[in-house]
């Protein structure tokens, strides 16, 4: 870890000026569970770390008629233990329950979870000056790409590591952003960016902007959700493939399906073809299978990660059948 200065922010308004115009100037820290590791691995080498935990009033979960508003500094444990989340948003509750370990969930925040940097072992190693760090190539290409992307056509093949992000996206959540010109709101679907748009980062945030809140609309009646995660180890492990699914089913017919895969693409990956296929159809096993096929239609696996296509397919089929029954 390189030397850096450390600043405690005391208000949201103050933060943009404490941050800089470049990611190398300053970064924000909340739980620090991702950032500190990144700094130890020299994947992040900021001159200044701006602590957000010193800001009062960003740690809340509020419910109203429109839905739920979750402050950016709310820990994953608080999300997990919130009764509105567990009763009305099972997809989010289940997703948060399988993140990391209890110790990490006690420290890590919900906003920090969706802002995690790639877990790619080339990105995290100081020996590989990869595209994400301003280098010339993606080492997953021609390297060991067992845990890399099967969707998107590069040039970087990282996968987005978040479990919470697919769940929030499936729920149609909105991210509240604060920058030098004040606050703004962005749909989760528009928040994440593919490598060809922005090779160094995974979302639209600029260096001097932060997330202040995530709001989740109340799910429509007859809507059900679930989160599935396949990992090699039952704890402290990222998804090989995950699926956040929220479906509205009336009398066996799917009115709306929201299916977002994790661990398969540089961003949480909405399975649009599968969603379109399911809309208005009566759910049968054959149709669940067709939806699964549609979900991976565009998959382009790398030499070592073809297994992810099969897992993604199986998860979609499993979730569609379970939510229709």
């Amino acid at each position: 870890m390189r030397n850096f200065s450390y600043v405690n922010a005391t208000s949201i308004e103050q933060v943009p000026s404490l941050l800089g115009r470049s990611w190398d100037d300053a970064v924000v820290m909340a739980g620090g569970t991702d950032l500190v590791g990144e700094m130890k691995d020299y994947a992040a080498v900021p001159k200044r770390v701006v602590n957000l935990k010193s800001i009062e009033g960003l740690d809340y979960i509020r419910q109203d008629d429109a839905g739920l508003r979750i402050g950016a500094l709310t820990t994953l444990t608080d999300v997990l233990e919130n009764s509105a989340v567990s009763q009305e948003l099972p997809v989010l509750h289940q997703a948060v329950s399988v993140i990391a370990s209890p110790q990490i969930r006690n420290m890590a925040t919900l906003a920090g979870n969706i802002l995690q940097r790639p877990r790619c072992w080339y990105y995290r190693s100081e020996d590989f000056p990869c595209l994400k760090k301003g280098g010339a190539r993606c080492y997953a290409v021609g390297g060991v790409n067992t845990y890399h992307a099967i969707f998107g056509s590069g040039p970087s093949y990282i996968v987005h590591p978040s479990d919470a992000a697919p769940a929030l996206m499936a729920l149609g959540a909105t991210v509240h952003v604060h920058g030098p010109r004040g606050g703004d709101e962005v749909l989760m679907d528009d928040f994440f960016t593919m490598p060809e748009m922005n090779i160094r980062r995974e979302n639209i945030l600029r260096p001097n902007e932060i997330v202040t809140e995530i709001s989740i609309p109340k799910p429509e009646a007859n809507s059900k959700g679930m989160f599935l995660k396949v990992r090699e180890r039952e704890s402290i492990d990222f998804a090989l493939v995950s699926l956040a699914a929220q479906m509205t089913v009336v009398n066996g017919t799917c009115e709306r399906a929201s299916l977002v895969l994790g661990g398969v693409a540089p961003i949480p990956w909405r399975a649009v073809e599968a969603e379109d296929y399911l809309r208005g159809r009566r759910i049968t096993e054959a149709r669940a299978e067709s939806a699964a096929e549609a979900a991976v239609e565009d998959a382009a696996p790398m030499p070592h990660n073809g297994y992810k296509v099969e897992i993604a397919k199986n998860l979609v089929k499993q979730a569609v059948q379970a939510l229709a029954s």
Binding site: M1, R2, R119, D237, Y307, E310
Partner: protein, 758 residues
């Protein structure tokens, strides 16, 4: 009272070091603080194979916070010389070059320089200011590729030794040896079923939670003291004396509590570097490794290639077996292929055997001992082939093992004849276990289930030097100093043997692990020897104390010493029932009859005892869609000789199983084409967590070891041997697909099932 008339042995007292450990008071290497302490770190090679053309340390030395920089040029360059360092014979020149690379770097992570600075962050910054000029050389990391003609050569001066003779051939094969017994060709001709299969295993790490550390102080008198985490303080002392070319009397090693070792904390890595930095600066210097340094810069256990062929008659008798075993030594010769060869067919009585072993250098870290080193790789091959033969013959795989099991008098292919062992008793206990007799319910969730079994053997080191020094307190309690570092509850298991011998409670003994100036030479805590060997010394110490106390009683009572009996913890004079007293009662008076009562004993048993056998049963559930293997139930059966503290025997069995499961299902060093390890963190190198495992059930079999006064057999290592094979056999039972490459991780299992229609 436990069985066999013992009062203490077989009971489960709380360990002496337990409270300090669970309350965080126990002192580990990283806790050491000394006045004027500097902090050191290591510059490591980014290349797996390169010639060092120049090392320029001037920029680092100019850094204001830096106090010293050292390279291999600060080490005495020593000649080829072999030394026994506890679990392995080591070439000291190689050991020195492994500590700080000289001439060439042989693996990524190879240490090239050390820095001492005012704090760790400055030291880390300074490492980047050391400029090393390399001539990068072609590298080789796979064992079979390294054996090929034309492979990049690690040691240009190393000639292959073949069948005990040095040849003229320069190659990466350091050694080829052969064990032969009977005529395998004739044996296969008699066989009705012959199976020959190939297997590969990958490099895995012991994964101890505490990383390596060393704090050194080289004082003005030239006396070197090192505080460190080690399995053998005296082994560290010997290595330091040899690597630094100084008298052992100038080196004192203070062993701290140890957060796991499993064989990996015998060789020194940081200790000589810290010593050199302290010598240069005149200050104490502390060094600790990060996790990636532990993965890339210490000694994992080797990847290997094995080809095993076994034959049996239709009535279920093994007639012949052959094995070709090629093990990666890592950067310097010395893989555990020899130990693997001694174990590979040992649970069986086979008349015709040939084993060829190859010790092969590759551009990976120098391998080191890991719990039954070499045996797990071997058993993965043998036990899978035995499973296949049993299936072909239509016999129960455990009944097949009982029928062909090794027993007293059976000769191992590498020569020795078994004394009394518990191979068959262990297998029979598995066969009769509730687990094995229960039926395996079908899965309700579309997954498939299966059951597998496997056996394993480990020699156990039934010898070694141990010293114990005791003093009796007036209240009858005993301070017991020992040289065996306590990794797995050995303070308790040794104290219990002393307590048993002299009729006290375990809590009456206060055991202390002390430094090398304070106790006689004691061999490493390794080879499953400590409860055996230092326990042997504890028993002898008890006998010495009884003799001494009889002398004291003789003076106090004014009667002849040889007329005093000691029975059930009580001294008594044969001719006068009034003259009697318990050990504690006598202890309160004994000091008046000749000063404090003390005893010092050292022992070195002859190593003749029998080894350890284990048989495991596992039920798995395989998700064919994801390739994930879940363990539903696991039972480990093992001969412990006599279980001194059954909880710690069970703990060793469970711990070994868990490491074996990790090795079988997930763990591996994953290499890039450039020879670097991609997954040098506990996130990407997946060891199992408690959530991945059921409670590991244990069944202790007790066939006493005839070479120990209480019948102790070492228990620490053999439980890691069967798991990968047992899992492979269970996965086959579930899916119909045999997996012969480790690890059997989800991507690999899924691929194998897809390719084989499982």
């Amino acid at each position: 009272m436990s069985q066999n008339g013992h009062k203490v042995i077989g009971t489960r007292p709380i360990r002496h070091d337990g409270v300090d450990k669970v309350t965080g008071r126990a002192i580990y290497g990283a806790d050491i603080q000394l006045t004027g302490l500097l902090h050191g770190t290591v510059k490591r090679s980014p290349h797996p194979h390169a010639r060092i053309k120049n090392i320029d340390t001037s920029r680092a030395e100019a850094h204001p916070g830096v106090r010293a920089v050292v390279t291999a040029h600060d080490l005495p360059q020593i000649a080829d010389k072999l030394a026994d360092l506890g679990e392995a014979i080591v070439n000291l020149r190689d050991a020195s070059n492994n500590v700080l690379a000289y001439g060439k770097v042989l693996y990524k992570g190879h240490a090239v320089a050390g820095v001492a600075a005012i704090n760790l962050h400055v030291a880390q910054e300074a490492v980047e200011l050391i400029d090393v000029e390399y001539e990068v050389l072609p590298h080789v990391t796979g064992v079979l590729e390294a054996m090929e003609d034309g492979a990049p050569i690690l040691h240009e001066d190393m000639k292959t030794t073949s069948m005990g003779e040095e040849t003229d051939k320069v190659s990466n094969i350091a050694n080829h040896f052969q064990h032969k017994m009977g005529e395998p060709d004739d044996g296969f001709a008699e066989a009705d079923v012959v199976i020959e299969r190939e297997f590969t295993t990958q490099t895995v790490h012991q994964g101890y939670i505490e990383t390596h550390n060393a704090t050194a102080l080289w004082n003005e008198e030239g006396q070197l003291t090192i505080w460190t985490s080690t399995q053998g303080a005296f082994s560290v002392r010997d290595q330091m004396a040899e690597i630094l070319q100084m008298p052992v009397s100038k080196v004192k090693i203070v062993p701290l509590e140890i957060g796991g070792g499993f064989g990996g904390k015998i060789s020194v890595y940081l200790d000589p570097v810290a010593a050199l930095l302290s010598k240069k600066t005149g200050h104490p210097v502390k060094m600790t490794m990060t996790r990636d340094e532990v993965f890339e810069g210490t000694g994992p256990t080797p990847g290997s290639y094995l080809k095993v062929k076994m034959g049996a008659t239709s009535d279920g008798r093994l007639t012949a077996a052959t094995a070709y075993m090629a093990y990666e030594a890592g950067a310097y010769p010395g893989s555990p292929v020899g130990a693997g060869a001694g174990c590979i067919f040992t649970p069986y009585d086979i008349p015709n055997v040939q084993i060829d072993g190859y010790d092969v250098c590759v551009n990976k870290p120098k391998t080191n001992a890991y719990r039954a080193p070499g045996a797990t790789n071997a058993a993965y091959a043998t036990e899978t082939v035995v499973d296949e033969i049993s299936e072909k013959l239509g016999v129960d795989p455990l009944e097949f093992r009982v029928k062909n099991g090794a027993k007293e008098g059976t000769r191992r292919a590498d020569g020795p004849v078994h004394p009394r062992i518990g191979c068959i008793e262990t297998t029979e206990a598995a066969l009769n276990s509730e687990h094995y007799r229960s039926s395996l319910a079908k899965s309700a969730n579309g997954k498939v289930r299966g059951r597998g079994v496997a056996s394993g053997y480990w020699f156990n080191f039934n010898g070694g030097r141990s010293a114990i020094s005791v003093s009796i307190n007036p209240d009858g309690t005993i301070n017991m100093l020992e040289g065996s570092t306590d990794i797995g509850g050995s303070r308790a298991s040794i104290a219990m043997q002393l307590a048993e011998t002299i009729g006290l409670e375990a809590t009456d003994i206060k055991p202390y692990v002390v430094d090398t100036d304070s106790i006689g030479y004691t061999d490493v805590t390794g080879g499953s020897r400590t409860t055996f060997g230092t326990g042997y010394a504890a028993h002898a110490t008890g006998q010495a104390l009884i003799r001494e106390m009889k002398e004291r009683a003789s003076k106090l009572w004014d009667v002849p010493a040889d007329a005093i009996d000691f029975e059930d913890g009580v001294f008594s004079y044969r001719d006068d029932a009034e003259k009697r007293g318990s050990f504690k009662e006598m202890a309160s008076q004994a000091g008046d009859a000749g000063g404090p009562v003390v005893a010092q004993v050292s022992t070195n048993p002859d190593g003749s005892g029998g080894g350890a056998f284990a048989t495991h049963v596992v039920d798995v559930e395989v998700d064919r869609e994801t390739g994930k293997v879940d363990i539903l139930r696991y039972t480990a059966v093992q001969d412990a000789g006599t279980a001194i503290h059954p909880s710690y025997v069970e703990g060793q069995m469970q711990g070994g199983v868990v490491q074996g499961i990790g090795w079988g299902l997930n763990e591996e060093y994953i290499y890039n084409d450039d020879g670097s390890m991609t997954n040098a963190s506990f996130l990407d190198y997946r060891m199992p967590t408690t959530l991945d495992l059921p409670m590991i059930e244990t069944i202790i079999v007790e066939v006493p070891n005839e070479s120990h006064p209480y019948g102790v057999r070492g228990v620490g290592e053999v439980p890691i041997v069967p798991p990968p094979a047992a899992l492979a056999n269970a996965i086959y039972d579930a899916t119909g697909v045999r997996l012969r490459d480790l690890p059997m991780s989800p991507p690999r299992v899924q691929k194998a099932l897809a390719e084989n229609g499982g």
